[in-house]
Symmetry: C2
């Protein structure tokens, strides 16, 4: 999707949040904001939001000497989510429609996000997930589960674009459910190559045991989304080969909503711009088949 | 007060909001944002937030050929608030402490603000005011009413810095109450000289009948607050002469919190930065004596 003007204030908020997380001095924080402000007149709103946010995160990274300010918080998310693994698993197993429940849980896990939200209390949020998902059914308007099942059935190779650390445990539940039904499917799970916000890296995916059920790959980039021209050749090869893409999170939706591949976007609506773009409401859980839904494809 | 880094995203949000209100094309809206972004590296965080916001509103004004995009909404606020006049008056009159009630109502009127809030539904907000003020007592921590009364009693000349259109009807209630107790006091009410957001202008003050109870003056400026160096000589003369300043709204607080005059700030806390600065919570109603309270004076 294109960037909306309303994304600009939000970029500044996110970059500042990142700078604070990085623990750099207020002077350096201001410097990061200034550099990003200088870039704004150069950006085109035809770019997707993650393409513009990337500029800000790039500035921050340079100032912060390539450190990973979210490392500790990612590890904490992983540990907390892993503790829930058995509970989540049982939830899926005891459901009438196990696949649907696994899809819902995977989307619920998308609540673990530091880009769109400030001051996230992981414990609180995870508790909320488990209570909230009971009410998800009522928020499932335009939920393309039927086509998801259909496309899943006929797809041999699936590329699953992971989003955040911690959340990836929820992804594992869904992937295991898919593997249980279709053991023959080849499922790749891609993670970011280098740190960006709390996005999952290879170490997070390994720590959360995703390698036990899928083939892990890096996408070769460090954008808060999937910006294909920045991804590695190897990743693009698998992306092109895949019969179905399962894409997690708003960042991946924002960067891939105009893509030609058959993609199912799974995410929670976390900002008014994406709500407007998809015709959903803030907080809605979305399972969106890009072949079924036209209006957002700009 | 100084500008916080967290104000920067908010400036962009406000300027965009203003540009949308102005009804200019998305291209021009982007141009306004770009121009403002170019200014950011030049601004010092030692400036107060209204000083920086003013740069943005100045850009917008130039692009918008000095039109007043909020004119209609200001007129609507005035009309709606005037309709409440009798009801507000009765509320004050039937209270045990009429002055206190009038102070509370004046602060409640500060809810009418388009700078800090998006998509304000005036009708809804005004209804909320009248229901909400019943609960104000519980939110009145650090409410410097006692010193307000004391200073009011001994002040001969009072300067009342108005904030928004519509809200000025609520100010009128308070000023009338002061005049009822102390008919001999000289009370000036200052409004902005030229349009900025929905701040009250002379025409709003006249329409709302404030001239029936106080001496109306323009402050000679169009900043979203009171930036003394930008105000007219005449205004500064009255400001210096006044024994007591009653200052309405966050913008005036932000721009005058470091002033030497004896000022009572009346406002609702509308953003986390001012909440932090004053040790209050979002939504709190504040009556703050700048001689009693030290921590915010930076």
């Amino acid at each position: 999707m294109k960037t909306h003007l309303a994304c600009i204030p939000c970029f500044f908020r996110q970059i500042l949040e990142g700078a604070r997380y990085a623990g750099i001095s207020p002077q350096l924080q201001k410097k990061v904001m200034d550099e990003f402000a200088r870039a704004i007149p150069q950006v085109s709103l035809r770019s997707s939001p993650p393409e513009i946010a990337l500029i800000g995160y790039g500035i921050l990274k340079k100032v912060n000497a390539d450190r990973d300010p979210y490392k500790a918080i990612k590890q904490k998310s992983n540990r907390l989510a892993l503790k829930l693994y058995r509970k989540l698993k049982r939830k899926a197993e005891h459901s009438k429609d196990r696949l649907l429940k696994a899809v819902e849980l995977a989307i619920a896990g998308n609540i673990i996000d530091f880009g769109a939200k400030n001051n996230l209390d992981i414990n609180d949020e995870l508790k909320k997930i488990l209570s909230k998902e009971e009410t998800f059914v009522s928020r499932r308007k335009l939920f393309h589960y039927r086509s998801f099942k259909k496309v899943l059935k006929k797809s041999k190779t699936i590329l699953y674009l992971a989003d955040n650390a911690g959340e990836i445990v929820f992804d594992r539940i869904l992937i295991e459910e898919i593997k249980r039904i279709y053991p023959e499917k080849v499922i790749y799970v891609s993670v970011k190559d280098k740190p960006v916000i709390n996005d999952a890296l290879m170490e997070d995916a390994l720590f959360c045991g995703v390698d036990k059920t899928a083939l892990l790959i890096s996408n070769g980039a460090d954008a808060p989304g999937t910006i294909l021209p920045l991804c590695s050749k190897e990743f693009k090869r698998i992306y092109m080969k895949a019969d179905m893409i399962i894409s997690k999170g708003q960042g991946n939706f924002e960067s891939l909503s105009r893509a030609r591949k058959h993609i199912f976007f799974l995410f929670m609506v976390k900002c008014p711009v994406v709500a407007e773009e998809t015709g959903r409401r803030l907080g809605d859980i979305v399972l969106l088949d890009n072949r079924e839904n036209g209006p957002f494809r700009n």
